[in-house]
Symmetry: C3
């Protein structure tokens, strides 16, 4: 249950360094690799000869060579050559629109004719100076929408991440939810508070007194099909919040690119684009390690929640004000899926 | 396939020390914890907010706080509070009758109106002096009735436990099976024999010559819904058997509280209440360790038997005289299940 | 989907040394052991008493004693005795035709009336001097026919086994496929080439210059139901190939006895019968270790191919000239299965 006419993050460029990568995206087993001149390519992970996964093969001069009997596949899904064979009549395999942008490889698992690379949204930090980025990847055995819910309602930080980014003021601060076209925004401000441990570390790293009172903000943006980008930060109390001088704040964007793997599992490309001390590579590593530890705290909760929901498929869940962001996001996802179904109906 | 209107052992008190415990009983995922004033509580393991398992939360002042978004649940299944929310309209979750008695926490997974705490049978050693108890817990992937069969026919000791409690005289001694209301009793006496290794150790621990000839007895009592309590012991030959002076025997009760988890798995709370050297805590530990090793010998057999039966669902098994105890126990279980079905039919 | 009226390799004799062995063959759980006078026996792995797997028991004086309650089973599937019981009325369990021949235990999972031990084909090296044999066993989660395909098209060596037995000349040499009754033969000759590493080692072991140019041959023989025996070797270029003097070549037979376990898994008894330096036991060990490493390279490919085919059950695969051996072998398998179905229809 996911839109297929959409750009999803498939992998990071380093995952296809020198070898193909097999990964299931929206239930489709796909092989990703670098074709001629290093351009990314994405094909059905199925050799037309005997059904071997092409991802077990190797890339030679931009051709994907099947690791079983040496069939050479082109990035358009047409067989180029095979030792001792005429390949002209070989059935093509599916190729997928794919693009390398903004530090990720994106794939379009739906109707190729509708894929427009320019529709991949430009991240706010792209091409800007003063930003640094680090992140990682989890495979989570839950519906991708449970993770969207999680990220659109940050009151969970108080409970799941009590020792790092959670604090009781998140629960206490009112949340506001708005939409801007297909973007859903939930935001929350906390003023004159003590920063929680993660942000105290960030303040110290940026030369601020970690014990100083701060204003803290969280602005979650759901961007279809299923990504969440969160403006986060703390600034010395009264210095202007997100608009404070960079010297008075520590801030950034929590990056959550979420890609369905199957109906009950997803790929979670998480990261942090920070807007302070961008040149400090050790700080990037440290923040990545801390963020990994924090985000790992969500895994058991999400996977066990999924199991509970599968065991009670008809039970209604509550939709409180704190859930509005997730509810709105799901509505947009459903609208997109309905549009795809309608389109398919017209085609057929 | 289990009676639900029954008290089952759910856990031992130490399992809910300071934190909730999630455990599936009779196919129902339940969270156990200590509510106000330390009284045990049992609820559906499902937060009414977003379906998270409440067992991942924590207990604060007798309230079960969901570990995802902080909903505070009462031990009656009604939400007490949630940060920033009015909770009066929240749907209640199911609460289960529960009691802490005789060193165990008991739960009633069926119709709460029929639950009577006084119906939990008082163990023979309860409130008596001169007894000591030790035990443990296994999760076994077999129908709980296969374990009842196992314990109601102790000829298996000769084969499965050949080096500890088994001896050929078990096979040779005739077994007698009787019923007393819903209690099924199989008993066997062996006279003037050498004790097997486990009982030789017990004799030595009680100051008896381990090589002396003994009379040995085994009296298995099936108590519905699915527990088996076994009077066991050896006494110096001719000294009176189970009625011998405590100085001339080593004896006790093998405790087998068996609780269905699913249709093909169960919880096995095993233990030994011994009636000698009750103050010797080191002996308690030693017996527990030995018993664990012995009972582990049953696991592969039971789980592989279960797989064989699932592969041959229509094949009839033999019901020999040695199987009469298990056969009678199953009849009582079936009678109880039939009564429940009938009752449900009348209610509907 | 396998013929059942056929002799399959079940195990090697050492696997039933002193204890029974439980193994599923063609979906049938079977226990193998040595009965009276050490003769191999094969029975349903199901005790008629309570359904325990007999393979968890032990063999006493040629009787298979159930490890649960001591039932003594005879190799004809009839209960011999049980402590304290009259066993005459016990239902028999199925016994299977079984034979120990040529270093393996063979079983006939189909209609016992049709089993003729003399139909087990005599391996070429049996009873010959100058041969030595070593091998091992894999359990592979793929349809046994994928493994037959693999072995009837050795062009995969160039890709899967590039560093040991593969070389580009395999791809370049034309393959010829013929049939001889129910035996399918694919063969290939490569002349005046450098031997690949595995064969260079063999040449050195046989006192030949490993860098000398050789003629190499591969003659794969599919023998129903699902075995493949491959004449392989290298001889000094121009010295006569497979007919060269033994001093001028290193050669042998790759042994592939393949037995279905379930529809999507199989037992692979692999080995090498070599026709040089037969007395060198250390060489046997070394070749076995190398062969194991080489054949392990196939496992991931076969299991992942199987998953791909299960995900695309209706997709046609290509049947190229290199696939002809496998295609013909499958035809013979299908013919045998059709004959069995027809026979069953007539019986019913």
């Amino acid at each position: 249950m996911f839109p297929k006419n959409a750009w999803y993050v498939a992998c990071t460029p380093n995952e296809i360094d020198g070898k193909p990568l097999g990964r299931k995206i929206c239930n489709e087993p796909i092989v990703f690799y670098r074709g001629p001149e290093g351009a990314v390519a994405a094909l059905e992970d199925f050799c037309p000869h005997r059904g071997a996964p092409l991802s077990l093969g190797r890339v030679v001069d931009g051709k994907l060579v099947c690791g079983y009997h040496g069939l050479e596949m082109g990035c358009d899904g047409k067989t180029i050559a095979m030792p001792g064979q005429r390949v002209r009549g070989f059935p093509p395999i599916r190729s997928y629109p794919v693009a390398e942008r903004y530090g990720y490889v994106w794939v379009w698992p739906g109707d190729a004719a509708q894929a427009d690379v320019e529709a991949i949204p430009v991240p706010a930090w792209h091409g800007q100076t003063g930003w640094a980025m680090g992140g990682g990847l989890f495979n989570i055995r839950c519906d991708y929408r449970l993770l969207v819910d999680n990220l659109m309602d940050l009151t969970h930080e108080t409970y799941v991440h009590a020792t790092s980014i959670g604090q009781k003021e998140i629960d206490e601060a009112p949340v506001s939810t708005t939409t801007d076209g297909e973007v859903v925004i939930t935001s929350r401000r906390m003023e004159n508070i003590q920063a929680p441990p993660f942000w105290q570390d960030a303040m110290a790293a940026n030369g601020l007194d970690p014990k100083a009172l701060v204003d803290r903000w969280q602005v979650c943006r759901f961007v279809p099909p299923s990504n969440v980008l969160i403006d986060v930060g703390v600034a010395l109390a009264g210095s202007g919040g997100p608009d404070a001088d960079l010297a008075h704040r520590a801030s950034g964007i929590v990056v959550d690119f979420i890609t369905p793997e199957t109906e009950h599992s997803c790929w979670y490309f998480w990261g942090m684009a920070r807007h302070f001390q961008a040149d400090d590579a050790a700080l990037t590593d440290e923040i990545r390690a801390n963020q990994q530890k924090i985000f790992e705290e969500d895994l058991e909760m999400l996977e066990r929640q999924q199991l509970n929901l599968l065991a009670h498929p008809t039970r209604d869940l509550l939709k409180l004000n704190i859930d509005t962001g997730g509810v709105q996001a799901r509505r947009i996802i459903e609208r997109r899926m309905a549009a795809e179904s309608k389109q398919e109906g017209q085609t057929a």
